[in-house]
Symmetry: C2
């Protein structure tokens, strides 16, 4: 044993954040949490919050993706997509479209109402992003945005076992009411909120 019985320390003037300095996980969590805090407030009126926004955004794309593709793209389990889409569909923001080429899949498209909501949300979430990046000068913000996007893209293609993006030929809009060519409607109704 040496001559230092250990505890009995004295403050050295370092900031408390210094202890975590250099830990990427801590830093990412810190930033992500700050973003979520602001973003959740901005997205309170959309089912599923920020996740609902991301689904809505994906659904507003040119090519309606399948539920599974969106789930992989967003990094959530396919089972949560069902609940998420139930709520978004009930709110009239998205539609489940039948795909004639594969009757198992549902392609998710935003409704006109959904697209309108997306515009409002986008503006509010831009503000949330601004809050999240506050503390960096504009140049650094731009650099961070670029690198984070670039890295996320790499992560997106690396994660799924198969490619989450496939080419789609045609989709058939649901003529609600006509039971002929529409979606079979396998699920009658959700049996009262779980909880």
């Amino acid at each position: 044993m040496s001559a230092t019985p250990t505890p009995s320390v004295r403050h050295t003037g370092r900031s408390c954040a210094d202890a975590m300095d250099g830990d990427l996980g801590w830093a990412l969590g810190m930033i992500f949490r700050r973003y979520l805090k602001a973003a959740k407030e901005a997205a309170v009126d959309v089912p599923g919050g920020t996740r609902g926004y991301q689904v809505l955004r994906s659904a507003a794309g040119e090519t309606p993706s399948t539920q599974l593709a969106i789930a992989e793209q967003l990094g959530v389990d396919r089972t949560v997509m069902t609940y998420l889409l139930d709520d978004l569909e009930e709110a009239g923001l998205i539609e489940r479209l039948a795909d004639p080429s594969d009757r198992r899949v549902r392609r998710i498209a935003a409704t006109a109402k959904g697209r309108a909501r997306l515009v409002e949300l986008g503006a509010r979430l831009d503000e949330a992003e601004r809050v999240a990046l506050a503390g960096l000068d504009e140049g650094d913000q731009a650099v961070l945005r670029r690198l984070v996007n670039q890295l996320a893209r790499v992560a997106a293609v690396g994660e799924p076992p198969g490619a989450a993006c496939e080419v789609v030929a045609e989709v058939e809009p649901v003529e609600s009411g006509t039971g002929s060519a529409g979606i079979p409607r396998r699920r009658p109704r959700r049996p009262a909120r779980r909880g």
Copy 2:
């Protein structure tokens, strides 16, 4: 109405990640999730996983912080700190030290065993960080690390209502066994894992 009855789309050759392009929340979540996936595997043998590692890292600093200070620094509720520290203490990685100047608080210090474990963990988590940043060249990785750290620091000081970092004078090591000057040991034992 115009001449476009809408759905019936054709693939345009865009990547699926394009739909989320520019969304900071999506990108951060994607990166953070990839880090966590790798980091969890690296920290399976430490109670609390990556959170436990962060606590341990904070406890290994020169100035033992209080539970509340660590909780705020890590962005978790103070109630989860109790469970986290229970497990870490049970594993012999940290100690709860009494603070003579305020008998309410407990200052958290890493044991010798905890510090040793921290070294192993650090090496493995460096590898997890390497995985998380894979896809960026070394220069960009360095830039991203710098900006992320800088931003996290801003977030750390901005979050808590009061300053989470205070100057501490002296702490008193617990002489386990001697009931005189040690911690009053308010909690006899945890009543069997909750679940």
